[in-house]
């Protein structure tokens, strides 16, 4: 890489430094500082001075050190070989760094994000003379068993182009020329398998599309109560220990997206290791292949440099958009956006900017909005469809949802899965609160559920939400006067809700059967519970005491069906329903006669 000296260091203060004698450096240009070649980015220009944020520990940088400009913005390298890889926040491959510098990450080391020597089998899908444009797909590479990588013309290519040169099907490296395209007026572009894209700029699309398809996660509380659309945005806020990470892991493992980008932004090292260790062994229930075959991981643990933490979110979403442009449904998990916001705050403080709320910079909401707006269900430049769904964890200090990051995030997401500490304390997982959470996608995905012949979903959902609301009010009364003061009919509502919580909302991520619940099973389970409510209410009206209903053997069956009924034997639930009807009838008949 040809680099020029753009200036010299003037002052060093942690990960932010001031440079002087700046000539032709650009905003957001990628630079290397001193002979240690520490990676940095120009974040502010003022006269002949610049402010640079460095992505590695600044120890040893002295005033007067050279600053080398690379001429381009901090960019992600995009091409086959991304899937299954593990990166740090600035897209350095961690496995590769380990072979270079051992178990600890030493300073100033670099490695390309994808393997430039690896040979891929390329199958062209256009031929000489075809009309193409930026974003058009010109061929395919089988990247992993599961993912077909579609090689595209860089989206920045201008106007209507013609293929003037195209290679035959065969084995190529990523840098090899595959095609030459031209607009006939002197503009030509050489297409290879690899392209670079500045991480802070959204990749272009043709149009936004509606969000009618839910992202199925296999978690009942999400799919049934608070669904997320493909291309939607959701925030998961929760104090520490409420299970944000566990919920994110479950979704990453089981959701029906084609590609997962998992960003560990300021996460614990050991937890990241858990992901790295577990994902390759997890089998995707739909394809029977390893989950790593559809996953890109970014691991920027909390002790890695703060600026790289800030960049990690953008690196992740840029890779997600790249696969979206190929026509895939991508889900991106960011754990946690609060760590990212805190990185912004830390850097802003170092730049001595005027703080707004709680020390966060005034541009925090703008940055949050910019990030979430990169989600969506899009018509891609090549004419296909793809989506990026964003699932952002938020870690509010002290579990207090009124803090700036949670509040601003709420403005820009359309679904909210609030985690509740008291549920987590009782080991009710996922600890998603049914009172605080919401989803604006419910009406949009109704048609999809109907199209899956699950018409009961929408009404069942509405009914159980109503019961849960009633329960909240009844619980307040119980707190004051005790449960005995309530009539059986109302106590039964408490009973049904408590059953619904243990039998339906709770899900054990470690249980072979329970950890993933098919939509069919979800709908049937909820139907049985509502049936129990209907029949039970009738029985109580007839004078059957609540204790007798509660003691029915079938109630235990309902409580344990999440463990006992596997996804491919959903008809077992119908048997439970039959048993329920029979038991209720027996019970009721005793009282009919009186």
């Amino acid at each position: 890489m040809q680099e020029r000296i753009v200036g010299r260091v003037k002052r060093v203060n942690g990960p932010v430094l001031t440079a002087k004698g700046i000539g032709d450096a650009k905003m957001m240009e990628l630079v290397h500082v001193s002979e240690l070649k520490i990676v940095g980015e120009i974040v502010k220009l003022n006269g002949d001075e610049a402010t640079i944020q460095v992505y590695e520990d600044a120890t040893g940088i002295a005033p007067g050190d050279n600053i080398y400009g690379s001429g381009m913005s901090l960019s992600a390298e995009l091409g086959p070989g991304l899937i299954g890889n593990i990166y740090d926040g600035i897209q350095r491959p961690l496995e590769e760094l380990r072979t270079l510098s051992g178990d600890f990450i030493s300073k100033g080391i670099a490695a390309p994000a994808i393997d430039h020597d690896k040979v891929w089998h390329f199958v062209p899908s256009v031929s000489v003379g075809d009309k193409v444009r930026g974003g058009s797909i010109i061929g395919r590479v089988q990247e992993t068993e599961r993912v077909e990588h579609r090689v595209m013309i860089p989206p920045a290519a201008k106007g209507e182009l013609t293929v003037v040169n195209m290679v035959q099907e065969g084995d190529y490296k990523v840098d090899d020329q595959l095609a030459v395209v031209s607009d006939g007026k002197g503009y030509t572009e050489i297409v290879t398998m690899v392209q670079r894209w500045p991480i802070r700029v959204p990749r272009p699309v043709q149009d936004h599309m509606d969000l009618g398809t839910p992202l199925i996660t296999g978690l009942r509380v999400i799919d049934t109560l608070f669904p997320l659309s493909k291309g939607g945005t959701v925030a998961i806020p929760g104090g520490f220990g409420t299970g944000k990470t566990m919920t994110q892991h479950s979704i990453a493992q089981w959701c029906d997206a084609d590609i997962i980008v998992y960003i560990g932004c300021g996460e614990r090292g050991n937890e990241m290791t858990d992901v790295l260790r577990e994902f390759p062994h997890l089998i995707d229930p739909r394809t029977g292949l390893s989950l790593m075959q559809r996953t890109i991981l970014i691991a920027n643990t909390s002790n890695m440099p703060v600026s790289a933490r800030e960049a990690s979110i953008y690196t992740g979403i840029t890779m997600a958009e790249y696969y979206r442009d190929m026509g895939y449904n991508v889900a991106i998990m960011a754990d946690s956006t609060s760590r990212w916001a805190e990185a912004l705050r830390e850097l802003s403080g170092r730049m001595e900017e005027m703080p707004a709320e709680e020390g966060f910079p005034a541009y925090l909401p703008t940055r949050i909005a910019q990030f979430y707006e990169r989600a969506g269900h899009m018509k891609t430049l090549s004419g296909g469809e793809g989506s990026v769904s964003v699932i952002g964890a938020v870690s509010p200090p002290g579990g207090d949802f009124s803090e700036p990051v949670t509040q601003h995030t709420k403005r820009f997401v359309r679904a909210f899965w609030g985690l509740d500490r008291s549920l987590a304390s009782a080991r009710h997982y996922p600890a998603i609160s049914w009172t605080e959470s919401y989803s604006e996608y419910v009406d949009e995905v109704k048609a999809w559920w109907n199209s899956q012949s699950q018409d009961r979903w929408f009404d069942n959902r509405r009914r159980i939400m109503e019961l849960l609301q009633k329960e909240v009010r009844l619980q307040q009364i119980v707190k004051l006067v005790g449960p005995d003061a309530l009539p059986d009919s109302q106590n039964f509502i408490l009973e049904v809700c408590s059953l619904f919580k243990t039998a339906f909302l709770q899900q054990n991520a470690f249980d072979e059967i329970d950890r993933y619940c098919s939509i069919d099973k979800q709908v049937r389970m909820l139907s049985v519970i509502l049936r129990y409510y209907d029949l039970g209410s009738d029985a109580i009206a007839k004078g059957v005491p609540l204790v007798k209903i509660r003691r029915m053997q079938v109630v235990q069956d309902i409580a344990r069906m999440r463990f006992n009924v596997s996804n491919d034997r959903c008809d077992e639930i119908d048997k439970i329903e039959l048993k329920l009807e029979r038991s209720m009838m027996q019970l009721g008949s005793l009282y009919d006669e009186q």
């Binding site: 002052r11 002979e35 120890t59 040893g60 007067g64 380990r98 178990d103 050991n270 830390e346």
Partner: protein, 473 residues
């Protein structure tokens, strides 16, 4: 004044400048010393500050620019004068010469001898700031450490390579608990080479003395390296103490293959010192005046625990912090909780009722527990049992709240059972003697004894087989 040519020195010339000595500070403000007209000094460099009386103190470059260098002096600035202060920039970051022979010794926060005798020499100088472990090089911790304390082993199991802080408050028994863990901790089914690194930050002399005595009684003193920066030592030294201690811990664990247990007390004092220095530098504060980078600073300490693939050693951290005003949402416990793998939370109410250890099981958690317990590691019924204990004990809280409103007499029969269970759980399961070392089997059996108070149909987290095998109600 330095001329501009001098500023454009090449790297090779820089080497010659290292070691130059300058006289005359331009400003002294608390622990910070500012000096003008130096050669280009690197960020984070180690500095020797020579006081007018000839004593040598150490410092570190906090801010460096063309005009001035800002140095923080670890040993305080008492007795320094503007014209009489000399500085010697060493051209390298603060290092610690590490050697196994430091076990059994008492050092100050910078790793210098505190007991008077000379320290063993070492040729292996390590940057105390450490470098981040590559996440792909980490090994996932899953080896159970038996502490002999029921509530910890049973419900918030400690795992080798974990960082599990104790969130306590002033006046509670956290030191006793830490000492008891040090005494009783063992890995099952094998002898391992334990070592203890103890870092004290801003604690009173008696607290340090308590630990020394307790180590001595147990006969582990030769296996303990102590880094003491006591309450009357300069506040700044505390910001470096945990880093020095962990530098030695890394050497012992990853070069010498030892299972290192690092006890750091009190992290609250570390954070107070960070705030002090940040305020002195006029930085923009974040929550409650603590600097915006406190999360990163804490992470740089806590994340230096774990295991590495292909190396036998491990670093397990047991930091102790006292929650100001018992407030768990205070920035210090809050940020700590986001970095560590769980927490052990003390409860003043339980302490008041004479329960030792006064651990509130419901707000405590071990994130690494799930993969370190169960069949082949502890006992097959452990995961479900602990789950059930949490659920039932959480129900106890509900019943108690209800009882406080409507009175105990009004409770249902089942609720009475829960009250009874809660009492047994706290008095017999959680509570234990300071010298009582319970094996994991005893712990689990005690757990079953508690659950047997409840009717079997209330135990929904347990399988029928487990209830069959262990339930005695």
């Amino acid at each position: 004044m330095m001329n501009s040519d001098e500023k454009l020195l090449k790297e090779s010339d820089k080497a010659l400048l290292r070691g130059r000595q300058y006289t005359g500070a331009s400003r002294i403000d608390g622990p910070l010393v500012y000096m003008r007209n130096t050669h280009p000094v690197g960020y984070g460099e180690l500095v020797e500050i020579i006081a007018p009386d000839g004593s040598i103190r150490s410092g570190q470059v906090l801010d460096t620019s063309d005009d001035a260098v800002c140095v923080q002096c670890f040993e305080g600035t008492d007795g320094l004068s503007l014209p009489g202060t000399r500085m010697h920039f060493l051209g390298e970051p603060l290092t610690l010469g590490v050697t196994e022979k430091m076990l059994g010794r008492v050092m100050n926060g910078l790793g210098k001898s505190r007991d008077g005798a000379a320290l063993p020499s070492s040729s292996d100088e390590r940057d105390v700031n450490g470098v981040a472990m590559n996440p792909t090089a980490r090994e996932y911790p899953r080896d159970f450490i038996q502490t002999g304390i029921s509530v910890i082993d049973g419900m918030m199991t400690l795992i080798q390579g974990q960082k599990l802080p104790i969130f306590s408050g002033n006046g509670m028994d956290h030191n006793q608990l830490a000492a008891q863990i040090v005494r009783q901790a063992k890995v099952r089914g094998g002898k391992s080479d334990f070592a203890i690194v103890f870092a004290a930050m801003g604690v009173k002399y008696d607290v340090a003395k308590y630990f020394i005595d307790s180590f001595e009684e147990t006969g582990v003193l030769d296996n303990v390296a102590m880094f003491l920066s006591l309450a009357d030592d300069p506040s700044l030294e505390r910001t470096i103490t945990p880093k020095t201690a962990l530098t030695l811990a890394e050497h012992l664990a990853f070069d010498k293959g030892k299972q290192v247990l690092v006890i750091m007390t009190d992290m609250t004092n570390y954070c107070e010192s960070l705030r002090e220095i940040s305020t002195q530098r006029g930085e923009i504060p974040s929550r409650k005046g603590y600097p915006g980078y406190m999360y990163s600073s804490l992470a740089e300490i806590y994340e230096r625990s774990g295991k590495l693939i292909g190396r036998s050693g491990s670093i397990t951290q047991l930091p102790i912090l006292t929650m100001p005003n018992d407030d768990i949402s205070h920035p210090i416990p809050d940020l700590t909780g986001y970095i560590t793998e769980g927490q052990i939370v003390f409860n003043r109410d339980m302490h008041g009722r004479g329960i030792y250890p006064p651990i509130n099981a419901l707000s405590s958690l071990s994130r690494l527990m799930k993969d370190g317990i169960g069949e082949g590691m502890t006992r097959d019924d452990h995961p479900h049992l602990s789950n059930q204990l949490f659920a039932s004990y959480s129900k106890v809280q509900e019943v108690r709240n209800l009882a406080s409103v409507i009175g105990e007499e009004e409770l249902t029969e089942l609720d009475h059972k829960y009250m009874e269970f809660g009492e047994f759980f706290e008095r017999k399961f959680v509570s234990q003697g300071f010298d009582e070392d319970r094996s994991i089997e005893e712990t689990l059996d005690k757990g079953w004894e508690a659950l047997s108070i409840l009717p079997a149909e209330e135990l929904q987290r347990l399988t029928e087989e487990e209830i069959e095998a262990h339930y005695r109600g």
